[in-house]
């Protein structure tokens, strides 16, 4: 939000982290030459309990979303412990606050691995934070389970991507719009890596599918002035808006949208970053009838989801909604537990080797881990925001979609990298 204060503080933290990581890098280089040291910072599995790391922003601008993910992770840990733990050992969650600040994420990831000696880490939300911790997990050969949909085009050997990749969310979203005959798209997004990459993919898709992108606009993250963008959208003759705005900008955008007389009927908006929690904070009156693309909604039918919603609301409050990233986070812990049980070991390489084909009856339906990409087979679901603030499904892909992070199975995506 605050360009001014963050840049100043960011400068200081940036400098201090530069210092720290330089020092860490030096350590890594030194121990790297020593073969036995590869397991020097390895997980501690000697006691009756093993530690799992939870890395979320519990403060700062992302806290609104990430606290709910943290809650869902704790719920899953509690359930696994109640059922006897993993390989006979109880899980002890260790929480670290990433503070919505990417260098802090890297620092805390290192702390979890080297000081807390966790067996696996769950968390991160923004792609920026994931990119910040990626080298830390790779350098230490430790596992991260990432619970949020993202822009694809990434595949780290030490990250399991439990949220949707592009072909499980954005591509089905586009398929849906095409099927509705909404072929003239206006792209609105926040100005950072996820929307820019996603829109590049959308343009390629549109070109190959006879759709037309009639406009593309980015607002700085945290921007609240959308009158001109909405005017441009209005004048462009689009059939639908594809919205990759993140965070609070959505509030200003949808307020302006309604003020300008645009509605879900006259010009629908398909959003990929607005889930139940965000609907509540933006205000249902601004969002009613608009579309979203996810893999899970609180209203998704099934016994597993009924139990999940009930357990979550019993633990955190009756009026608390459940959302896709929370569900993926919850699922990720269960998937890891199943991998470790199958491997009969907490060792990272053993767990990775056991990952392929692991299934879990998740609240979103049955999910299967794809060992080769370390992503998850997920069912795509398009939803519509209802008057009560909940999202109801209007279309789903029928069966889980095989993850394809690099979009290799799509000819139109061949030019993307």
């Amino acid at each position: 939000m605050s360009g001014l204060s963050i840049s100043r503080r960011g400068l200081l933290t940036g400098l201090s982290v530069l210092g720290t990581s330089a020092a860490l890098g030096a350590c890594g280089a030194k121990t790297g030459s020593d073969t036995s040291a590869a397991s020097g910072a390895k997980a501690d599995t000697s006691g009756d309990t093993v530690k799992v790391g939870l890395l979320n922003s519990l403060s700062g601008t992302m806290a609104i979303s990430e606290v709910t993910v943290h809650n869902a992770l704790l719920l899953a840990v509690k359930e696994i412990n109640a059922a006897g733990g993993v390989l006979g050992k109880k899980l002890k969650p260790v929480s670290q606050d990433g503070a919505s600040d990417w260098p802090t994420f890297a620092e805390k990831a290192q702390t979890l691995i080297t000081e807390d000696k966790v067996v696996a880490t769950f968390g991160c939300w923004t792609s920026a934070s994931r990119k910040a911790v990626k080298p830390v997990f790779e350098r230490n050969k430790s596992l991260l389970f990432y619970p949020v949909q993202y822009e694809g085009l990434e595949q780290s050997p030490y990250i399991f991507y439990v949220g949707a990749t592009t072909n499980q969310q954005i591509v089905p979203g586009l398929d849906y719009l095409k099927k509705q005959g909404l072929t003239r798209l206006y792209l609105v997004g926040s100005d950072y890596v996820f929307p820019r990459t996603a829109n590049k993919e959308i343009r390629a898709y549109a070109k190959a599918n006879g759709m037309e992108v009639v406009g593309e606009d980015y607002a700085p993250l945290g921007s609240t002035e959308f009158s001109t963008i909405v005017n441009k959208v209005k004048g462009a003759g689009a059939d639908a808006v594809f919205n990759t705005l993140n965070g609070d900008s959505n509030v200003a955008f949808f307020k302006e949208y309604k003020s300008a007389g645009l509605t879900a009927k006259s010009l629908p908006v398909l959003s990929v970053s607005i889930a139940e929690e965000e609907v509540k904070s933006i205000g249902t009156q601004y969002l009613e009838g608009q579309l979203t693309a996810w893999n899970y909604y609180q209203t998704t039918p099934g016994a597993a989801n009924a139990a999940f919603v009930k357990a979550y609301q019993a633990a955190y409050g009756k009026d608390k909604p459940t959302s896709d990233p929370m569900e993926a986070a919850y699922t990720s812990v269960h998937l890891w537990a199943a991998m470790a049980e199958k491997a009969g070991s907490f060792d990272v390489d053993d767990v990775k080797a056991a990952a392929d084909g692991i299934t879990f009856d998740a609240p979103e339906g049955k999910v299967t881990v794809d060992g080769a990409t370390q992503h998850v087979h997920k069912t795509a679901r398009i939803g519509k925001v209802g008057a009560n603030g909940l999202i109801t499904e209007v279309w789903n892909s029928g069966a889980p979609i095989k993850p394809d992070p690099y979009l290799k199975g799509y000819d139109w995506a061949s030019g993307l990298s």
């Binding site: 939000m1 605050s2 360009g3 001014l4 204060s5 403060s59 700062g60 601008t61 806290a63 609104i64 100005d191 606009d217 980015y218 607002a219 700085p220 945290g222 921007s223 609240t224 002035e225 009158s227 001109t228 963008i229 005017n231 441009k232 209005k234 004048g235 609070d248 509030v251 200003a252 307020k255 302006e256 309604k258 003020s259 300008a260 007389g261 904070s281 933006i282 205000g283 009156q285």
Partner: protein, 294 residues
Amino acid sequence: MTVVLNQSFTGISIGAVLLLIALGLTLTFGQMGVINMAHGEFIMAGAYTTYVLQQAVGGAGVSLLVALPLAFLVAGATGALLEWLLIRRLYTRPLDTLLVTWGVSLMLQQLARDVFGAPNVQTTAPDLLTGHITVGGVTLANNRLFILGLALLCVLALTLILRLTPLGRRIRAVVQNRDLAEVSGIATGRVDRTTFFIGSGLAGVAGVALTLVGPIGPTMGTNYIVDAFLVVVVGGIAQLKGAVITAFALGVLQSVLEYSTTVSVAKVVVLVAIVVFLQWRPQGLYTLRTRSLA
């Protein structure tokens, strides 16, 4: 043609927001010369006042109307307190004022975070203000019209106070020649505090207006503080009409550029235009001519 008219209205409405947030600053920075980095936090105080009121009262329309005077008082009182505690000791040290008020701004942000939580909050706008009216194909959003009206009302009120009331005369006297005002029997300290009260209070009113367009958060003030200073500097300090003209000119320029390019490019071009303008006219659009030697 419709596009041009629509875009002109957008520019005017952006200008109205700029004018509202800069109006208080024309008093505290323009008239008194205080570089108050905490001005944005008075905007935030006004916005949170609206939020708290709506939580307590409920009705969106009523709470908005009550919030306007209340936010003026809350932000004004905070400003007067700041003036009394810190700023009055620093009138001869403008750079120290900048640092001190920046520190205060960070403290106020943290205070808001502790009291209201880190996530941003929203208020519900009254139904009347979420719609729009169409005049000859031009869409006029009601909330923007409201902000425009509010900005003009504030300018009018401020002009009348400065021109016609004894208080306004005293304020102008102190601004033009502090020493002479003092030997003429004006309690300059009290006038300073009153001026600061009004300036900060206007920031509070701006905060209420901003709840109609965006979210309320601890750092919302920092989004606007730079724009507010730009308006006052370009308009020429010490002159209301300079701020009015500048706010609308910048608003229209921003919206026209944004329409033909992108948000980021528009921001850059506007900033460059301002820098060039200040090279040519460092004193701003209007200056105050007095016979004082200062």
